[in-house]
Symmetry: C2
Subunit: 412 residues, 2 copies
Amino acid sequence: MALIVQKFGGTSVAGVERIRNVARRAVETRKRGNDVVVVVSAMAGVTDQLVAFANEMSPAPDPREYDMLVSTGEQQTIALTAMAIQGLGVPARSFTSAQVKVQTDNDHARARILRIECTRIREELARGGIPVLPGFQGVTDEGEITTLGRGASDTTAVALAAALKADVCEIFTDVTGVFTSDPRIVPNARKLARVSYDEILEMASLGAKVLAVRSAKIGMKYRVPIHVRSTFSDEEGTWVVPESEVIERLVVSSVTYNRNEAKVTIFGVPDVPGIAAKIFGPLSEAGVVVDMIVQNVSTQGHTDMTFTVARGDVKRALTLVEGIAQKLNAAGVTSDAGISKVSVVGLGMKDHAGGAGKMFQVLSEHGVNIQMISTSEIKISVVIDEKYTELACRALHDAFELGGSAPEPEVG
Amino acid sequence: MALIVQKFGGTSVAGVERIRNVARRAVETRKRGNDVVVVVSAMAGVTDQLVAFANEMSPAPDPREYDMLVSTGEQQTIALTAMAIQGLGVPARSFTSAQVKVQTDNDHARARILRIECTRIREELARGGIPVLPGFQGVTDEGEITTLGRGASDTTAVALAAALKADVCEIFTDVTGVFTSDPRIVPNARKLARVSYDEILEMASLGAKVLAVRSAKIGMKYRVPIHVRSTFSDEEGTWVVPESEVIERLVVSSVTYNRNEAKVTIFGVPDVPGIAAKIFGPLSEAGVVVDMIVQNVSTQGHTDMTFTVARGDVKRALTLVEGIAQKLNAAGVTSDAGISKVSVVGLGMKDHAGGAGKMFQVLSEHGVNIQMISTSEIKISVVIDEKYTELACRALHDAFELGGSAPEPEVG
């Protein structure tokens, strides 16, 4: 008898029929003798609609009221899911984050979970029922409703699995697992049986939509076994596990891409100590997240700085940077949204040199110019012209032999 | 400086623009130097949609989960309304019923308010803000979310006004006040300046949609001055006040109708003591609300019983009554949904005999047959063939001289 946390995302609960399917999966797992805790997102589209309302109402909606508003999507789904489970003859009860309580800090719209009180969940399990909880929402110590930021239902689920010391956190989604690349652009991408927390974390950070970054971090910290699988099939998915449990230690396990960035360059900045702080301090204060930064070799006491930000932040970043450039007597500022970040990720890069060399060579052979480079222990990212995205992914996927013909070990 | 509770119904908050209008009204009232507390319903259509979801999910949705689901509509509106008020430069904060707390019993989907804690509301007023509260929802002592039944936002508003000892509870709606009859079928119906709690209570019970029955009862009990007025105009509405403050003491102040009833008759019931209990006991247990009951004069130890129920309950009532009729060896059961209940209401009937006589005579002159009669101290209701509804209302409205030409006293 295991304790299993099952999380279902927005497409999995989009409408009454799909919620019935979610209930069936939870009940089947329950009937196999397991304790089951269900975490659900808002129905697909509902949160978007609520966010649109907020933005229509105010150019900068009050974060407290924003959370009051958007947290209702999950509350609807937990109630409907509990009804659906009850309809299958199994007791169930939904709880808001305030009822449970999923305590967060008071940083509205992007709150962090501080503590999860498990009493009511355990009581519901003890009476043979399935507790149904909302992802995404929390409550402060003062009883204020918070939300954790978009896509944070995974975070709730993994944090809950950690708090409950669950045997597994099943992340149900609309794909069958974690793939070596996006099957929509790399047709022979194959599903990975196991990946490490480090790898999934890099993939998530790089824009792969398999598992939210924060949930991967929590999973890693508390060593929660995570099983990413499909809501719509019984097929075994991908297990996210500690590095020691990854059997197939590939040099590169995944090729990812992210078109959602834009590049900003400041030319002719005086190359003196503290210059980076002068540029990136104000951006950080304004909440603009900077991803990659490259500084050119200095010529005649001046240098160029290039960095990337999320495409949605580029206008804000430009306004800020133009002001800074003027103060610094820089030569000018440009931006380019027509870029794409392509990355290769793999545990094996820790021990194998040559991953980077191979990547650069493959891109060069296909005539793809590299604009920026960033590396970590287990990944290499390059910024390229957006139009080469698919070509680069396919070429790298082939070069690192990730295609579907490779043997995939069985996992129990 | 007065303390004013303003309640806005579903059509008044249907969409961002209308919520902005609600915010403007609240802010204007605030800027005139008053303390303002706003109570809002869910946006028109939202609760219906949620109820439809619940019914699609389950033929008999768990009441606790039903409340968890349908209470989200109001939560959305309070957040958007608070944002809109803030957008006009006035501080505002929304509170769920759990946060405030609006404590109810645990009779889910039709809970009753037991107590309203005013601390957070008064704190918000003290800092110069406008607290925005949801109608319709409550919370039990154990923190379970409840709802008060459809249309109960009025109840919340009046109960809140009572708890806060507010100077007035303004009920904003899509009509400009309480009319002598429905202007859609009686074109010369006119707005009443004042009506008594007793009258509004009768009108509400009789199906006039001006103010929910429970809110009128609470208003009467705590003597809350209620001002029913239009969201979309500044026109003075109708004041609901104690009987002693009604200036224009009309014999009949209003002609109302209700097409939403159906008639059930059991023929040839043995006329013995306890027979009514045998028939109406099971109906009451099944939650079928019986309105009028008429028992015929007994012939040869047998009688006929006729009663009315809400049209939506007629199938359930028939099934129950057919079973009972068999047990009692009754001659048979029939039902008729083609009826309408027309009523005249007026404080003056307390002192003036002749209201009933006049009503019956007018109907007779117009060839309208009366099927059932029911009276109270200040109202007379008759059940007639549905097709005569408009005719009967117009004829009675004229006969009791309620038309627009009558003088209407000024109210300060």
